[in-house]
Symmetry: C2
């Protein structure tokens, strides 16, 4: 797409609208949307007005929110309404959610009547629930219908719906009774009743189910779409798996941000730095306060530090290695709990494993550091002391890093809150205490 | 499902096989698979043998790999083959990939002939490419066919395929010419040629495309399935979006593990601790070696430390806050780059933002620490020194944490390698240098 951009820009300067339409019909809407920002605002508006309404609406759904809003503000009313009517209801709801409420109230009455109802209904659900994810683009038939009726319904309503996998069979009060995959519709005889063909056992989700649980349902049942039912069992919409992908990405980001205590930020680039700073600062404040403890430990043992100044040379490396080893362990366990690879009952298996890993990496890191003490400070005993402290501190770090997230989870606290900074703070103080006690034992008496 | 488990276990002790079959027909295969580990090995084998082959195969696909292997080892040959023939080709390939190669070579010849060919073809592709993700369960019609032919093909072959969204139209040498969504098949007239109904513009992926790129294609085009073409444009399989979900989860995990330098581990619980230790140890070794530098800095300034012992009390907190602040910034930017929210061209926007955030959180953390120095050590000048050093170190940390991942990305190095431990190491030395230089300026002369 990008390579023919200059030609399209040139054509836009002429009156060759038919050629532009022809050329663009060879491209996917997503590809055109991808280069949207390479056009000037005037070109964008002109191009969008030239295109066939269906293609325009398809491209529109792939644009970034700010690009959509730019178009809405500048399009002639007729085209604006046409595009909004064409949009799939769930994408339109996401767009409305990004607009000021007053703006939305002005737009909705301009839509077709049934689209108005859909829009209002979908806007009523919270964005992070099944109701907020679902679309109302689906086809139902009454349970008394036969296959021919279902096919007729499909022909009438199917044209406007992008994705159809199933026909939903409902009773008189719209309660979902069964599902007929499209392919079964094709293999059934026209006079068969839908009741005989439908599958009466099917997974479904509730309107208010949290989006993360919805994502788990898709993972568990390995399905492409799920019907959304209200408390009375009536079908209110369907969710397709592509909408769940965004949820999965969002949840992974949340875990990552929370674990590094970065604060969960939706739109990093456009967010006010003050708001980001407040989220991050809270954690740094906790760290700074925790520093009172590590400072007190140092103060308590300052008699050691002032008589053996070389001791202080090893404090950064000791804190760093134990902190990192603990974070490594905690990361693996937090993620394992999140994706279900690690269960609460695995607690001792995890701790045993981390204990072993701690011994191995501890000997490695401790050995290197001891070597340095021996070569650079020429002090065999100092090397032994530092290595011993480091091994113990690292074993403690990996074991605790494996243990704490599972304990958090069993207490129903998000394990990702057992974040890097938090565990580092605990481990720093622990490392210092271990270091000074071993120093006191091994070096002080000489 | 779990609540009727005792009843099923009891029924398994009797000869009431028909009742068991009836009861289980009310449940989803995924729900039965979920409680599989609650049965004893004998019960599992008995239950699996009792069930109707189709349901057994459906349950089988939802089992954990070790549960599958347990069954394969103990099932009578006839049932084993029946289940393997029923499995969808992509899931079967994943299972084969988990078995020893010799075992697979013994199993494949037992399959139906066309399943043998499919199995061998799929096994030839690398697991993390489009070829490794795709299934060969799809329906093609020649471009010379008409709609009635296509419907006939669908009726014959459709029964064994779980998910059908499209019919694929191919030329004489099997090159993909167009796609017909199932719903369009239903609205077309039987004598129309498929060529007239098909959509000739469609996104597709290459056989050897990396799975991460495949996932991006799904995200970009917002589709439910994508055809997989070889270099000559022939269709070799299709990928459905549900298989991509696992890829997205895997990639997110990889980013998380890499960023915390935990090493990428597939099966944490079953992996040998030595292997995990080797992956993590490599990073800790880098840290330990880097510790030579921070140690040298401390040694160089030991004249300051030995004359003002209180200085050392603030080293842990200084390193911790700047390290954490840098990791926070790096996390947000690494993740932003991974999901595409941050682009290379945003580099200065990011650095400016992180600079501002650094000032704000630096003043916060520095202020608290200064207060401590003033209250506990009763030394106003020391407080001022520590606070100044901390603010500068934190601003440096957030700016560098924002900058480095983008530089890595622009050098085509995975930004996630700009990991927590790596950035912490750089920042530690920087923090110490800043601290001692400011101390030297402000405190040494008094």
């Amino acid at each position: 797409m990008r390579i023919i951009l200059p030609e399209i820009k040139e054509l836009l300067g002429t009156k060759q609208q038919r050629i532009i339409r022809r050329v663009l019909s060879y491209f996917e809407p997503a590809d055109i949307a991808e280069v949207w920002s390479d056009f000037t605002p005037e070109e964008r508006l002109k191009l969008f007005n030239i295109l066939d309404v269906k293609l325009a609406a398809d491209i529109f759904e792939f644009l970034e929110e700010d690009q959509m809003i730019e178009l809405l503000e500048n399009l002639p009313a007729r085209r604006k309404i046409a595009v909004l009517n064409e949009m799939s209801p769930d994408d339109r709801t996401d767009l409305f959610a990004a607009l000021p409420a007053g703006e939305v109230e002005k737009i909705i009455p301009l839509l077709d009547l049934d689209e108005q109802n859909r829009a209002r209904e979908l806007l009523a659900y919270k964005a992070n629930t099944a109701g907020g994810l679902m679309t109302t683009d689906y086809i139902t038939v009454p349970e008394t219908a036969n296959i021919a009726d279902a096919l007729r319904e499909l022909r009438t309503k199917g044209r406007d719906i992008d994705f159809i996998q199933n026909i939903y069979v409902v009773d008189k009060v719209h309660r979902l009774q069964g599902i007929i995959p499209l392919k079964n519709l094709l293999t059934a005889t026209p006079r068969q009743r839908v009741e005989r063909v439908m599958d009466g056992h099917f997974p479904s989700v509730g309107l208010e189910m949290d989006q993360e649980d919805v994502a788990h349902m898709f993972g568990k049942y390995d399905v492409i779409s799920l019907p959304v039912l209200d408390k009375l069992g009536r079908i209110r919409g369907i969710i397709t798996v592509d909408d769940v992908i965004d949820v999965i990405k969002e949840e992974a980001s949340e875990d990552i941000y929370r674990f590094s205590a970065s604060g969960v930020v939706d739109e990093y680039l456009s967010e006010n730095p003050l708001i980001i700073a407040r989220k991050r600062g809270m954690w740094l404040l906790v760290l700074a306060l925790a520093g009172f403890v590590s400072g007190a430990v140092l103060e308590h043992y300052s008699f050691l530090l002032s008589s053996i100044v070389t001791l202080s040379f090893f404090i950064p490396i000791l804190m760093n290695t134990s902190g990192s080893a603990g974070t490594q362990a905690a990361t693996v366990v937090v993620r394992g709990l999140a994706i279900g690879d690690i269960k609460l009952r695995d607690i001792w298996r995890v701790v045993r494993k981390e204990f072993l890993i701690g011994i191995m990496v501890g000997i490695l890191a401790g050995g290197v550091t001891a070597l340095r003490a021996i070569v650079m400070q020429g002090d065999m005993m100092l090397g032994l002391t530092v290595a011993t402290a480091m091994i113990i501190a690292i074993v403690f770090a990996t074991s605790l890093g494996g243990l704490l997230p599972i304990i958090f989870k069993s207490l129903k606290v998000d394990p990702a809150l057992m974040s890097g900074p938090l565990i580092t703070t605990i481990l720093d103080t622990a490392a210092l205490l271990i270091y000074f006690n071993i120093t006191f034992l091994l070096l002080w008496r000489r």
